[in-house]
Symmetry: C2
């Protein structure tokens, strides 16, 4: 039998994800990834093949961690649609609070990837779009329920409103990266919820 790995693959992936998340794809060197994961170059290339493959796995892991959690909030039928949306915004802003560096957010890896890579990296674009579809579907469902129940009063199409909410979330992420404080981010979220 072969020599066993001396590290936990998932743990290394988390460290890499966090590095890409904080610094972006281009600004993260393979040496940065070695330092962050604690692995040697051979272990990284043996396990993840290339920087680009590692990035894709990190991106998938990010969406699994974040979006699964957020969709669970949106599908929690013990709460009203309006309450679920509030919980979603609260969770997003709580995440922004946790991930601040020098009084700035580090944003959201899918938003960062959309901005940095989607235009010239079709594989990254496809991963982000798949995540986007899942998020929009869940948002549309909860918004449609809220409209049917009369909790939301907008006359707009639920799919359009889902796009709107999703855009506001991206805007909150960018505002956090620009240095906006938490009360400001909460006010943006509250204003958006009022639009429904």
């Amino acid at each position: 039998m072969p020599r066993p790995k001396e590290f936990d693959e998932e743990q290394a992936l988390d460290a890499a994800m966090r590095t890409f998340w904080a610094n972006g794809y281009e600004a993260t060197s393979t040496e940065d990834l070695c330092r962050a994961t604690g692995l040697g170059r051979s272990s990284i290339y043996n396990t993840f093949s290339s920087k680009h493959e590692l990035f894709k796995r990190a991106l998938v892991r990010y969406t699994e961690l974040m979006t699964d959690n957020q969709i669970a909030l949106l599908e929690d039928e013990t709460r009203s649609p309006g309450r679920r949306l509030r919980d979603l915004f609260d969770a997003i802003i709580a995440g922004e609070v946790e991930n601040r560096r020098d009084d700035r957010g580090i944003g959201c890896l899918t938003v960062n990837t959309t901005v940095e890579l989607a235009g010239r990296d079709p594989e990254a674009a496809e991963l982000v779009e798949h995540d986007q579809r899942r998020r929009l579907d869940a948002l549309r469902a909860v918004i449609a329920t809220g409209l049917r129940d009369g909790e939301f009063r907008s006359g707009r199409d639920p799919a359009e409103l889902a796009r709107f909410v999703n855009a506001v979330i991206a805007g909150i992420r960018v505002a956090g990266q620009g240095g906006a404080d938490i009360p400001t981010l909460n006010a943006i979220a509250d204003t958006a919820r009022q639009a429904l």
Copy 2:
């Protein structure tokens, strides 16, 4: 007297701006900048000192071109506040239409810079924040007028609403980069305006 430059500095700056805008700071090499501007390395370094200095000048030029124009729309007192906001969104979305590559927007250089650089480049962050302050001031002023006139009915603070509108604009930019089509972007903008 010295030998005169063979090129127009402003024209070269525009080409560099466009390259940074489309591809980001890290992914733009100095050779890319030579190709885009048509200049040799010596001319670029002689005129702009370094890649980073050139980027800062390109960013300033971008904000001057874009934000000056947008603030003029917001301060056009021949139109109602609601109409001015609609004109602003229309102009932003028209810009998105003009700048598409492979069915995707290239976004907004200030949003892209916030996402890619603000966390680790204080000079870029300061330039973006100065632009942000100007945009927010103009937004707040027009929203305050609309509230006073009764055209807007939100009970919220104008500064908060300005932050909200600004976040939606960033969200529209990101959505455009993610491949959203124009009717979708318009629907997001309309929903945001309804919130006022």
